[in-house]
Point group: C2
Chain length 468, copies 2
């Protein structure tokens, strides 16, 4: 060949790509997730990869990670809105629901499995392009709490059924933000945000250290700090014990000392303190009641599938009630596989309707990449074909091809070998591609490449072992 | 609600988005296409949405349409390679094959169904983001011609089986570029590119006009122009007639007048002319032979599914033999739905291996959008659910939910109604979402929403009509 400059192809950091044998399993994962989502009546939605920058940048926190797109040779005077790749599926969902509001039927149950982009600095294990698999239910004005329980049930079914995840101990952690919100209000503490960020790390550092941070950094009294620590440390699968604890707390903190004195003026410092206190307890009780109902509605799941975990904070400020995280029990440092929660108002930037919802999102690519790395998924097959059809001779091509067609018509996947090579070469090809069966159209026999067994078979009735 | 500035959500021109009922059919299309591709043993490949700009801009012709991506807040001193969204799946395939060369098994049969991006000026009917569905077979050094026939067979199976396409008359047009290349060489004409671009429009203008253009614009003699017009006008399903025509031409043009006189020096003008002539006829004969074999290997398809069409030029200069286009017979102005061909060397920019291939690409989104617009696809269902499970009362939720689980375990898709509303309201919801069956868990009866029939059913055995 002539001399020429070759461009060495290399991976782009943060943009994962799989070999066919891995992609095949990735497809099985998507198929499984879709099957479960649809079995609960969720419809599929796909939105464009881009939104107008103005839409996507409304939430300031991820500004830095936004990728904008631009035509390489933009003409002078182009007046088009700037476009950006979406960094999640929630912003597009909000825009979608608002835009198509009159054409959707509510409660609107949708799932969405698309790539999202985050322009982070390249670093090991961080993807800049990855799949998310989201489900959300949106309704107008109010949304039954029942859906808060449906989410973890669906996610449990999804995660426990993924090929290669059989031996992973997974646990869904559930909380209700109203409990912590109420508590903080009741304790009348400043710096709620700072306290939440300390709680967020409660299981990464010691209780002592947390206490110290709550006091020193957030300026809490020892009593306040102790109470918060006591709450935020709760991790239990024992719903009864949890409830006794909460009821006691509510009872002890709703005593008559807090009756508003008759002479107190509305708006006076005493009144406001009192109100805050009462509202706090109300909010806490409300959250506890909701959490109770959600957990009870999940009683059909295996023991230890669900855990109450009051330390769950979730960074995003739009969650207002139930919140979820999902962890590998044996690898807590890995962080959450799948998170979400309830929000009060999905699309308030676009539409004058109150649209509460609850949703959960699987960080698909990160999870999948972990299982690929752990080698718990089987990557034996480089081809989807069930059968390699032998081509005994060029003269027998039509016959071999017709046999292949008969099998295909019945849903069997068949690759016809491309040249009348020696049989051992054709067998070797099947084995290199991981194709489990080889068909000899001249003798009408099929060979199982794993057991080595070979026997007569009829293309009108034969089915591969694993599909029987 | 409080006053606030609302951002009016609107579609971004050129970036299509579907309502759930349309998306549901789009998914059926993808499922069908994937099923057919895999039934022939093609494996799935997905590449990142981006390539390095240097990779993607190697082919100059689409420069203007390339979208580059950039982090919104790029730090000073970022030294990363510029990234661009891919505009087709061929450039990424070439890079993929070269990069993973040692891990792939050849012939490498892959399909790829992803979004691609073209930053065209927005205009009606032009997408800037759309799906393509490609299949290609790549081999090392040489690739059996048999694959050139497999492509149209697969595409025929794909297109004729798409929901909503039942009444469309589709035809695959096949040619072999060697025939025209050989002819032009034989006629020893200049401006091959100009002639090809005139031929490309041969069926859009009259024969007279074409003749005139060939003479005036390309400077051909009347005889040359006539011969080219005669060839390029050939559109036939009659393989025998086609062959008689070609054989006659070859015979008439390989007469002894063209024997190289013994005294001619190699390199002399007489010798070069002669050589060009002989090579031309050889190339033409080779192309005719290949086309013949491809068409013969497609004899199992319905009459009129395939047509020989020598006017097919295909803009891309990498096609070297068989070429395909696919048209709506009743709407020729629509252009090609699905095109492709054989190329000699997929990845010559990246690797010092000769990798010939043959491939074909369905312009998915454009085709799908056409069928949506023609309303030939049914969009009755806004939900994938087969069954709406009635919630007779809050007390019966557990029972209704358990019945739903029994059905889901058997692959039936069930939405549990969310609130114990009046039965007519629940029925109305099913009908608004287009859910075909409603299940009454209290009486154990199922109602067919289309026929109105209602009868007892067992969740352990019942199956929706269309899946039986």
């Amino acid at each position: 060949m002539s001399e020429r400059k070759l461009y060495k192809p290399k991976p782009v950091s943060g943009f994962p790509e799989w070999l066919p044998e891995v992609r095949l399993i990735e497809q099985q994962w998507f198929d499984h997730i879709r099957r479960v989502f649809e079995s609960y009546g969720f419809c599929s939605v796909e939105t464009p990869s881009v939104e107008e920058l103005e839409v996507i940048a409304a939430k300031g926190e991820v500004d830095k990670e936004i990728y904008v797109i631009e035509r390489l040779h933009k003409e002078e005077g182009d007046k088009e809105a700037r476009l950006a790749l979406h960094f999640d599926q929630t912003v597009p969902l909000a825009r979608y629901v608002a835009q198509h509001f009159n054409e959707l039927v509510f409660p609107f149950k949708r799932y969405q499995m698309q790539r999202v982009w985050r322009g982070e600095r390249p670093q090991a294990g961080r993807f800049r392009e990855f799949y998310q698999c989201d489900i959300d239910v949106i309704n107008i004005d109010s949304l039954p709490l029942h859906f808060d329980a449906e989410m973890p049930a669906i996610i449990w079914e999804v995660l426990s059924g993924l090929p290669g995840m059989e031996n992973e101990k997974i646990q869904l952690r559930v909380s209700n933000r109203k409990i912590l919100f109420g508590l903080l209000k009741r304790l009348d503490v400043p710096n709620q945000e700072q306290i939440l960020s300390i709680i967020d790390k409660i299981h990464k550092i010691s209780a002592e250290k947390t206490l110290e941070r709550l006091k020193k950094e957030a300026g809490l009294s020892t009593k306040q700090a102790n109470t918060i620590l006591e709450f935020a440390s709760i991790r239990t699968t024992d719903l009864d014990a949890f409830h006794i604890f909460l009821e006691e707390f509510i009872e002890n903190n709703t005593d008559q000392n807090y009756e508003i004195p008759a002479a107190t003026f509305v708006g006076s410092p005493e009144y406001l303190e009192k109100e805050r206190f009462l509202t706090g307890i109300d909010t806490l009780s409300e959250g506890a009641g909701e959490l109770n109902e959600v957990i009870q509605n999940l009683s059909h799941l295996p023991k230890d599938a669900i855990m109450i975990d009051l330390s769950i904070v979730r960074g995003l400020d739009y969650y207002t009630g139930t919140v979820y995280e999902t962890v590998f029990v044996d690898d807590p440092g890995y962080g959450s596989i799948c998170s979400g929660g309830r929000y009060d108002d999905l699309a308030s930037s676009y539409i004058n309707k109150k649209l509460p919802g609850v949703g959960i999102s699987i960080g698909f690519s990160r999870l999948f990449a972990r299982m690929v790395e752990k080698k718990t998924i089987s990557t034996a097959r480089k081809s989807p074909a069930d059968v390699l059809m032998i081509l005994p001779s060029e003269e027998q091509r039509a016959m071999a091809s017709a046999t292949a067609q008969k099998l295909r018509a019945r849903g069997v996947k068949v690759e016809l070998f491309h040249a009348p090579k020696k049989i051992p070469d054709q067998l070797k090809y099947a084995s290199r591609k991981g194709i489990p069966y080889v068909w000899f159209p001249d003798t009408g026999e099929v060979k199982n490449m794993i057991t080595g067994e070979q026997k007569p078979a009829d293309p009108k009735t034969w089915t591969p072992e694993e599909k029987r």
